[in-house]
Symmetry: C2
């Protein structure tokens, strides 16, 4: 019998759809544990198989509930679903987020659904650091759809576009002026827009406003992309609009594959993944060489960051 964390065995079991093995492999890859590279190398071969849907939008928009509904829909179609919840959690706020995510966790015991939280806190470049490795594990596990839920800060919105194939932007009729700025960033990256909580007043105005804003923001890009981002209304709570949303998501996935845009996006994702690999590797080895003596020299202005940085890199 192979050892619990034997890489060859883990890889085999993940490919057979074993959730326990996937969970273990994910921890190894995300934490950069010793076997990480062997695993990542194998799992990378599955890259591009699943539709990666980024679920973005401001806190309070109901992203988790909507994600839960999408899981339910995909399961009714016998599709296998992976879910990555990217959490900017500190020790304090971690609990709050998990509470919001009960709707997703309902599916945690379904063996057609694999759910994992990733903490982005303190990572350079937020969510992007570990997420590619996690995605490839889920692809190797055989997931058809991978839902990636972010917490909806402006930074995350930009980054999700370099990770996902399809960016789903969620808002509500009640979202006020204070998130207009965040929305503006989303305009540029959203492929599908949902006004969630459509049971609240102001749904039609919110949809119309969003369409008008998109008309402005996308005028130049649309011709090239040949994809007009639809704006839907939905109520995840009341299970309304989920089927329509799933149809648009499938439509976008078909569009991506038919138009070549999917290949272009996958290429950009790989470029980003490579960048982050290089970055992490180099920084790790350079930082090992930063010691207190160096910092004291900086404090006393005997040297400066560029001079000492160059020296550290040379001795690498």
């Amino acid at each position: 019998m192979p050892a619990k964390n034997d890489p060859t065995d883990l890889i085999k079991r993940v490919r057979r759809g074993d959730h326990v093995a996937a969970s273990r492999a994910l921890s190894i890859v995300v934490n950069d544990a010793p076997a990480s590279e062997v695993l990542a190398k194998e799992f990378f071969k599955a890259s591009g198989l699943a539709q990666k849907v980024g679920v973005s939008g401001p806190p309070g928009a109901g992203k988790s509930t909507l994600t839960g509904r999408l899981i339910g829909h995909y399961r009714s179609q016998k599709l296998k679903v992976g879910v990555l919840m990217v959490d900017p959690s500190s020790s304090i706020s971690g609990g709050a987020f998990l509470g919001d995510r009960l709707r997703v966790m309902e599916h945690a015991t379904d063996d057609g659904v694999f759910i994992r939280s990733l903490a982005s806190r303190g990572m350079i470049g937020g969510l992007t650091h570990a997420i590619f490795g996690a995605i490839h594990v889920l692809e190797a596990l055989g997931c058809d759809k991978i839902l990636i839920e972010t917490v909806g800060t402006g930074q995350d919105e930009v980054e999700i576009a370099s990770v996902a194939d399809t960016v789903l932007y969620v808002t509500t009729p009640a979202m006020g002026d204070e998130i207009q700025a965040m929305k503006a960033g989303a305009m540029e990256i959203g492929d599908i827009f949902v006004v969630n909580k459509a049971d609240l007043a102001g749904k039609d105005k919110a949809v119309a406003d969003l369409k008008a804003a998109l008309g402005l923001g996308h005028s130049a890009g649309q011709a090239l992309k040949a994809w007009e981002p639809p704006v839907l209304a939905a109520s995840a709570k009341n299970k309304e609009g989920i089927l329509e949303l799933a149809k648009e998501l499938d439509g976008h996935w078909k569009h991506l594959r038919a138009s070549g845009e999917g290949r272009a996006r996958l290429k950009r994702q790989h470029a980003t993944e490579l960048q982050f690999w290089i970055q992490r590797r180099v920084i790790k080895s350079a930082l090992e060489r930063v010691n207190d003596n160096i910092l004291e020299e900086l404090l006393s202005h005997k040297t400066d960051p560029a001079s000492i940085g160059r020296k550290l890199l040379k001795n690498g």
Copy 2:
């Protein structure tokens, strides 16, 4: 007469307090233009001279108005003020933020105030990329106080703590549940808390809630830091509470210098600055070697990010 961008001349002029020279030097440093390193090296010598105050908090909390009031207060004391506004702006949202910042811009023609916007969009690690260089220019220019205003995404909040000496967290009585999560992150990094818009209903409850939350979050850290983060109410619009706030800011600066905590923070700032210098340098040279052939090899799964990344670094 020396050339317009002659580094030696620019450095001399910045040290004499010349705003035109500072503006030029800032552009060179932030954009990594050819003379950048020569300038950065000299300006680094001024590091640690000014109190760097990070003004953080959710969008809509009135950070810009409050920053404007603080500028006014410092100017009445004949102090020289530098202001860095970190903007997650895209081409679309850029305008909206500037509109909010009129209160700050009132001071743009005062020669005791130097104001500059920095776009964080697309930077790896958000605001940290260029901000250290900008700060040292302002220190060399002779600023006593440097106010750094961020837009208040969770990510920025964490990062401001590795840049500022004093983190001022701004909220309002009206800020609802949707920002609780953001607040939790702020709890850990805030040195001074302000409930702004204190003219609105619910001020006392907001102050009490914040104090209660701080009691929980800081119980362990407080003894070590020997600084109990004060919670103030203010109305920047009505010019109320500004003097009290300025007093607390001065108090924290004194505390930092007397306790050794200021030196420890400066050391951490230098460590971060060095990390970012290394990161930027290495990524730049590695990315120059990423070409379309490599990306095609990744797409066809002939290689994987770790294998190709290692090769790129070796040939560096």
